[in-house]
């Protein structure tokens, strides 16, 4: 909008007709040619904005508004606006009415008895609003000046490495497992007569381990499974595990002749007859 500033040097002629009166002059402060007026009006964000402009234009203290002068100017601007942008005018007219009201109140003589507190300066509320508006007008400008993504700063990005999209596994707490087991047992007790047999978990574990060692078709000597270095308890647990595994038909025990070494092999991998060799 720098063109509007330059345009202030233009010589005015009859520039507008207001209430049937040809206007040879724009109001003193409005150095704007007619064809720029609409642009000019759009430069204001509302009546408060215009009022601020007028105050600044006159180099007036916002806290000491000469209401009469401001009202006069304001009204002439509003007249111009009404001609050009009717839909804009309503809010400006409200402000004009408010200014006129303040002006009239200030012209009235003050009752001598009245207290300062009871009869505050009618300009106070206007000043408060103007100050507040001006703050946010400035704040809008400050925000506009903040560094902005893709204007002033740019988010850094590098290509991601080749990855297999891994599926993350759920976490399970030991307590959950225990609770699940307790629930199963409770149900089993209620609905079936499944007998939970007494076996120490160490035997269960050894059963699994022994099965793992017998993985495949190989015959393994019993002496290889029973490890003396584990001590008496270890050997006993292993032995119990072997008995359990035999009972559960999970392994086979073979002996080629009486008193020959005993061999273990996992069951069910292959037919016993073909596996004997």
């Amino acid at each position: 909008m720098s063109d509007t500033a330059d345009a202030g040097l233009l010589e005015p002629e009859v520039v507008a007709t207001v209430r049937g009166q040809p206007m040879a002059d724009w109001p003193r402060d409005l150095y704007i040619p007619p064809d720029a007026l609409e642009v000019f009006l759009e430069a204001f964000e509302g009546p408060l904005d215009l009022l601020l402009y007028l105050i600044r234009r006159q180099n007036l203290d916002i806290l000491d508004i000469p209401i009469a002068e401001i009202t006069r100017q304001y009204m002439s601007y509003v007249e111009l606006m009404k001609d050009l942008r009717l839909e804009l005018a309503a809010e400006y007219l409200v402000m004009a009415a408010m200014l006129a009201e303040i002006k009239s109140r200030m012209l009235l003589p003050r009752p001598p008895a009245s207290d300062e507190d009871d009869d505050p300066d009618p300009r106070a509320e206007l000043v408060r609003r103007l100050r507040e508006y001006e703050q946010f007008k400035e704040a809008g400008r400050s925000i506009d000046a903040l560094p902005r993504v893709n204007r002033d700063v740019f988010t850094g990005q590098a290509a991601a490495p080749a990855m297999q999209p891994a599926q993350r596994q759920p976490d399970v707490a030991l307590g959950e497992l225990l609770a699940a087991f307790a629930e199963v047992l409770e149900r089993a007790e209620m609905f079936t007569h499944h007998r939970i047999e007494q076996e120490a978990l160490s035997v269960r574990e050894r059963m699994s381990e022994t099965l793992a060692r017998l993985d495949g078709q190989r015959f393994v000597p019993l002496t290889e499974i029973l490890q003396p270095h584990e001590g008496r308890p270890g050997v006993v647990v292993t032995f119990l595990a072997i008995l359990e595994l035999l009972k559960a038909a999970l392994i086979e025990l073979t002996q080629s002749r009486p008193y020959a070494p005993l061999y273990l092999r996992s069951a069910g991998v292959m037919g016993p007859s073909e596996a004997a060799q």
Partner: protein, 202 residues
Amino acid sequence: MTEPSLESILEAALMAAGEPLSVDRLRGLFDDAVAPSPGAIEKALQRLAEQLQGRGVELRQVGSGYRLQVPEDYAHWVSRLWEEKPTRYSRAVLETLAIIAYRQPITRGEIEEIRGVTLGSNIMRTLQERGWVRVAGHRDAPGRPAVFATTRDFLDYFNLSSLSELPSLLEIGDPGPEHPELDLEVPLQREPSAGPEDDPHP
């Protein structure tokens, strides 16, 4: 290879993400058993920020976490990469955004009262579509009007880590060129003023 340093891992993740990552999300890069403490993550980020001094990239804390970004000093060159000029926002949008940012949570009516004009519906739509403003709730008043607040995206976009980093509201005594486009440069002298509405963090 030797295990990469914590700060390099964080750098790699921030690079690959291309968006801000919270300390929590950074901890999530590791198995629970070996995840560094939030404090250790923060310290490593500090080291990373130092390592990046003077480089074409910097570590910055914004609303939704940490991100790697090209510093402003490089905008002159980097902006050449894109033909398009970044969007300009109207004064109405910026003023409304400012009022919401400083006065949130705030109703439409309160915004209109401060600006002295009706709020065009496109202004709030623009702000919400950009993801800068959201309806934060409803006031328990007749009509239950919506109250608006700014989002983390707002902070991210304007390079802020929190609302407290917003520039403080000017004292009204501050001189400032009004409509410089209208050839208005007047030195102003006003009494210093301070009211409750000067508080930038209500």
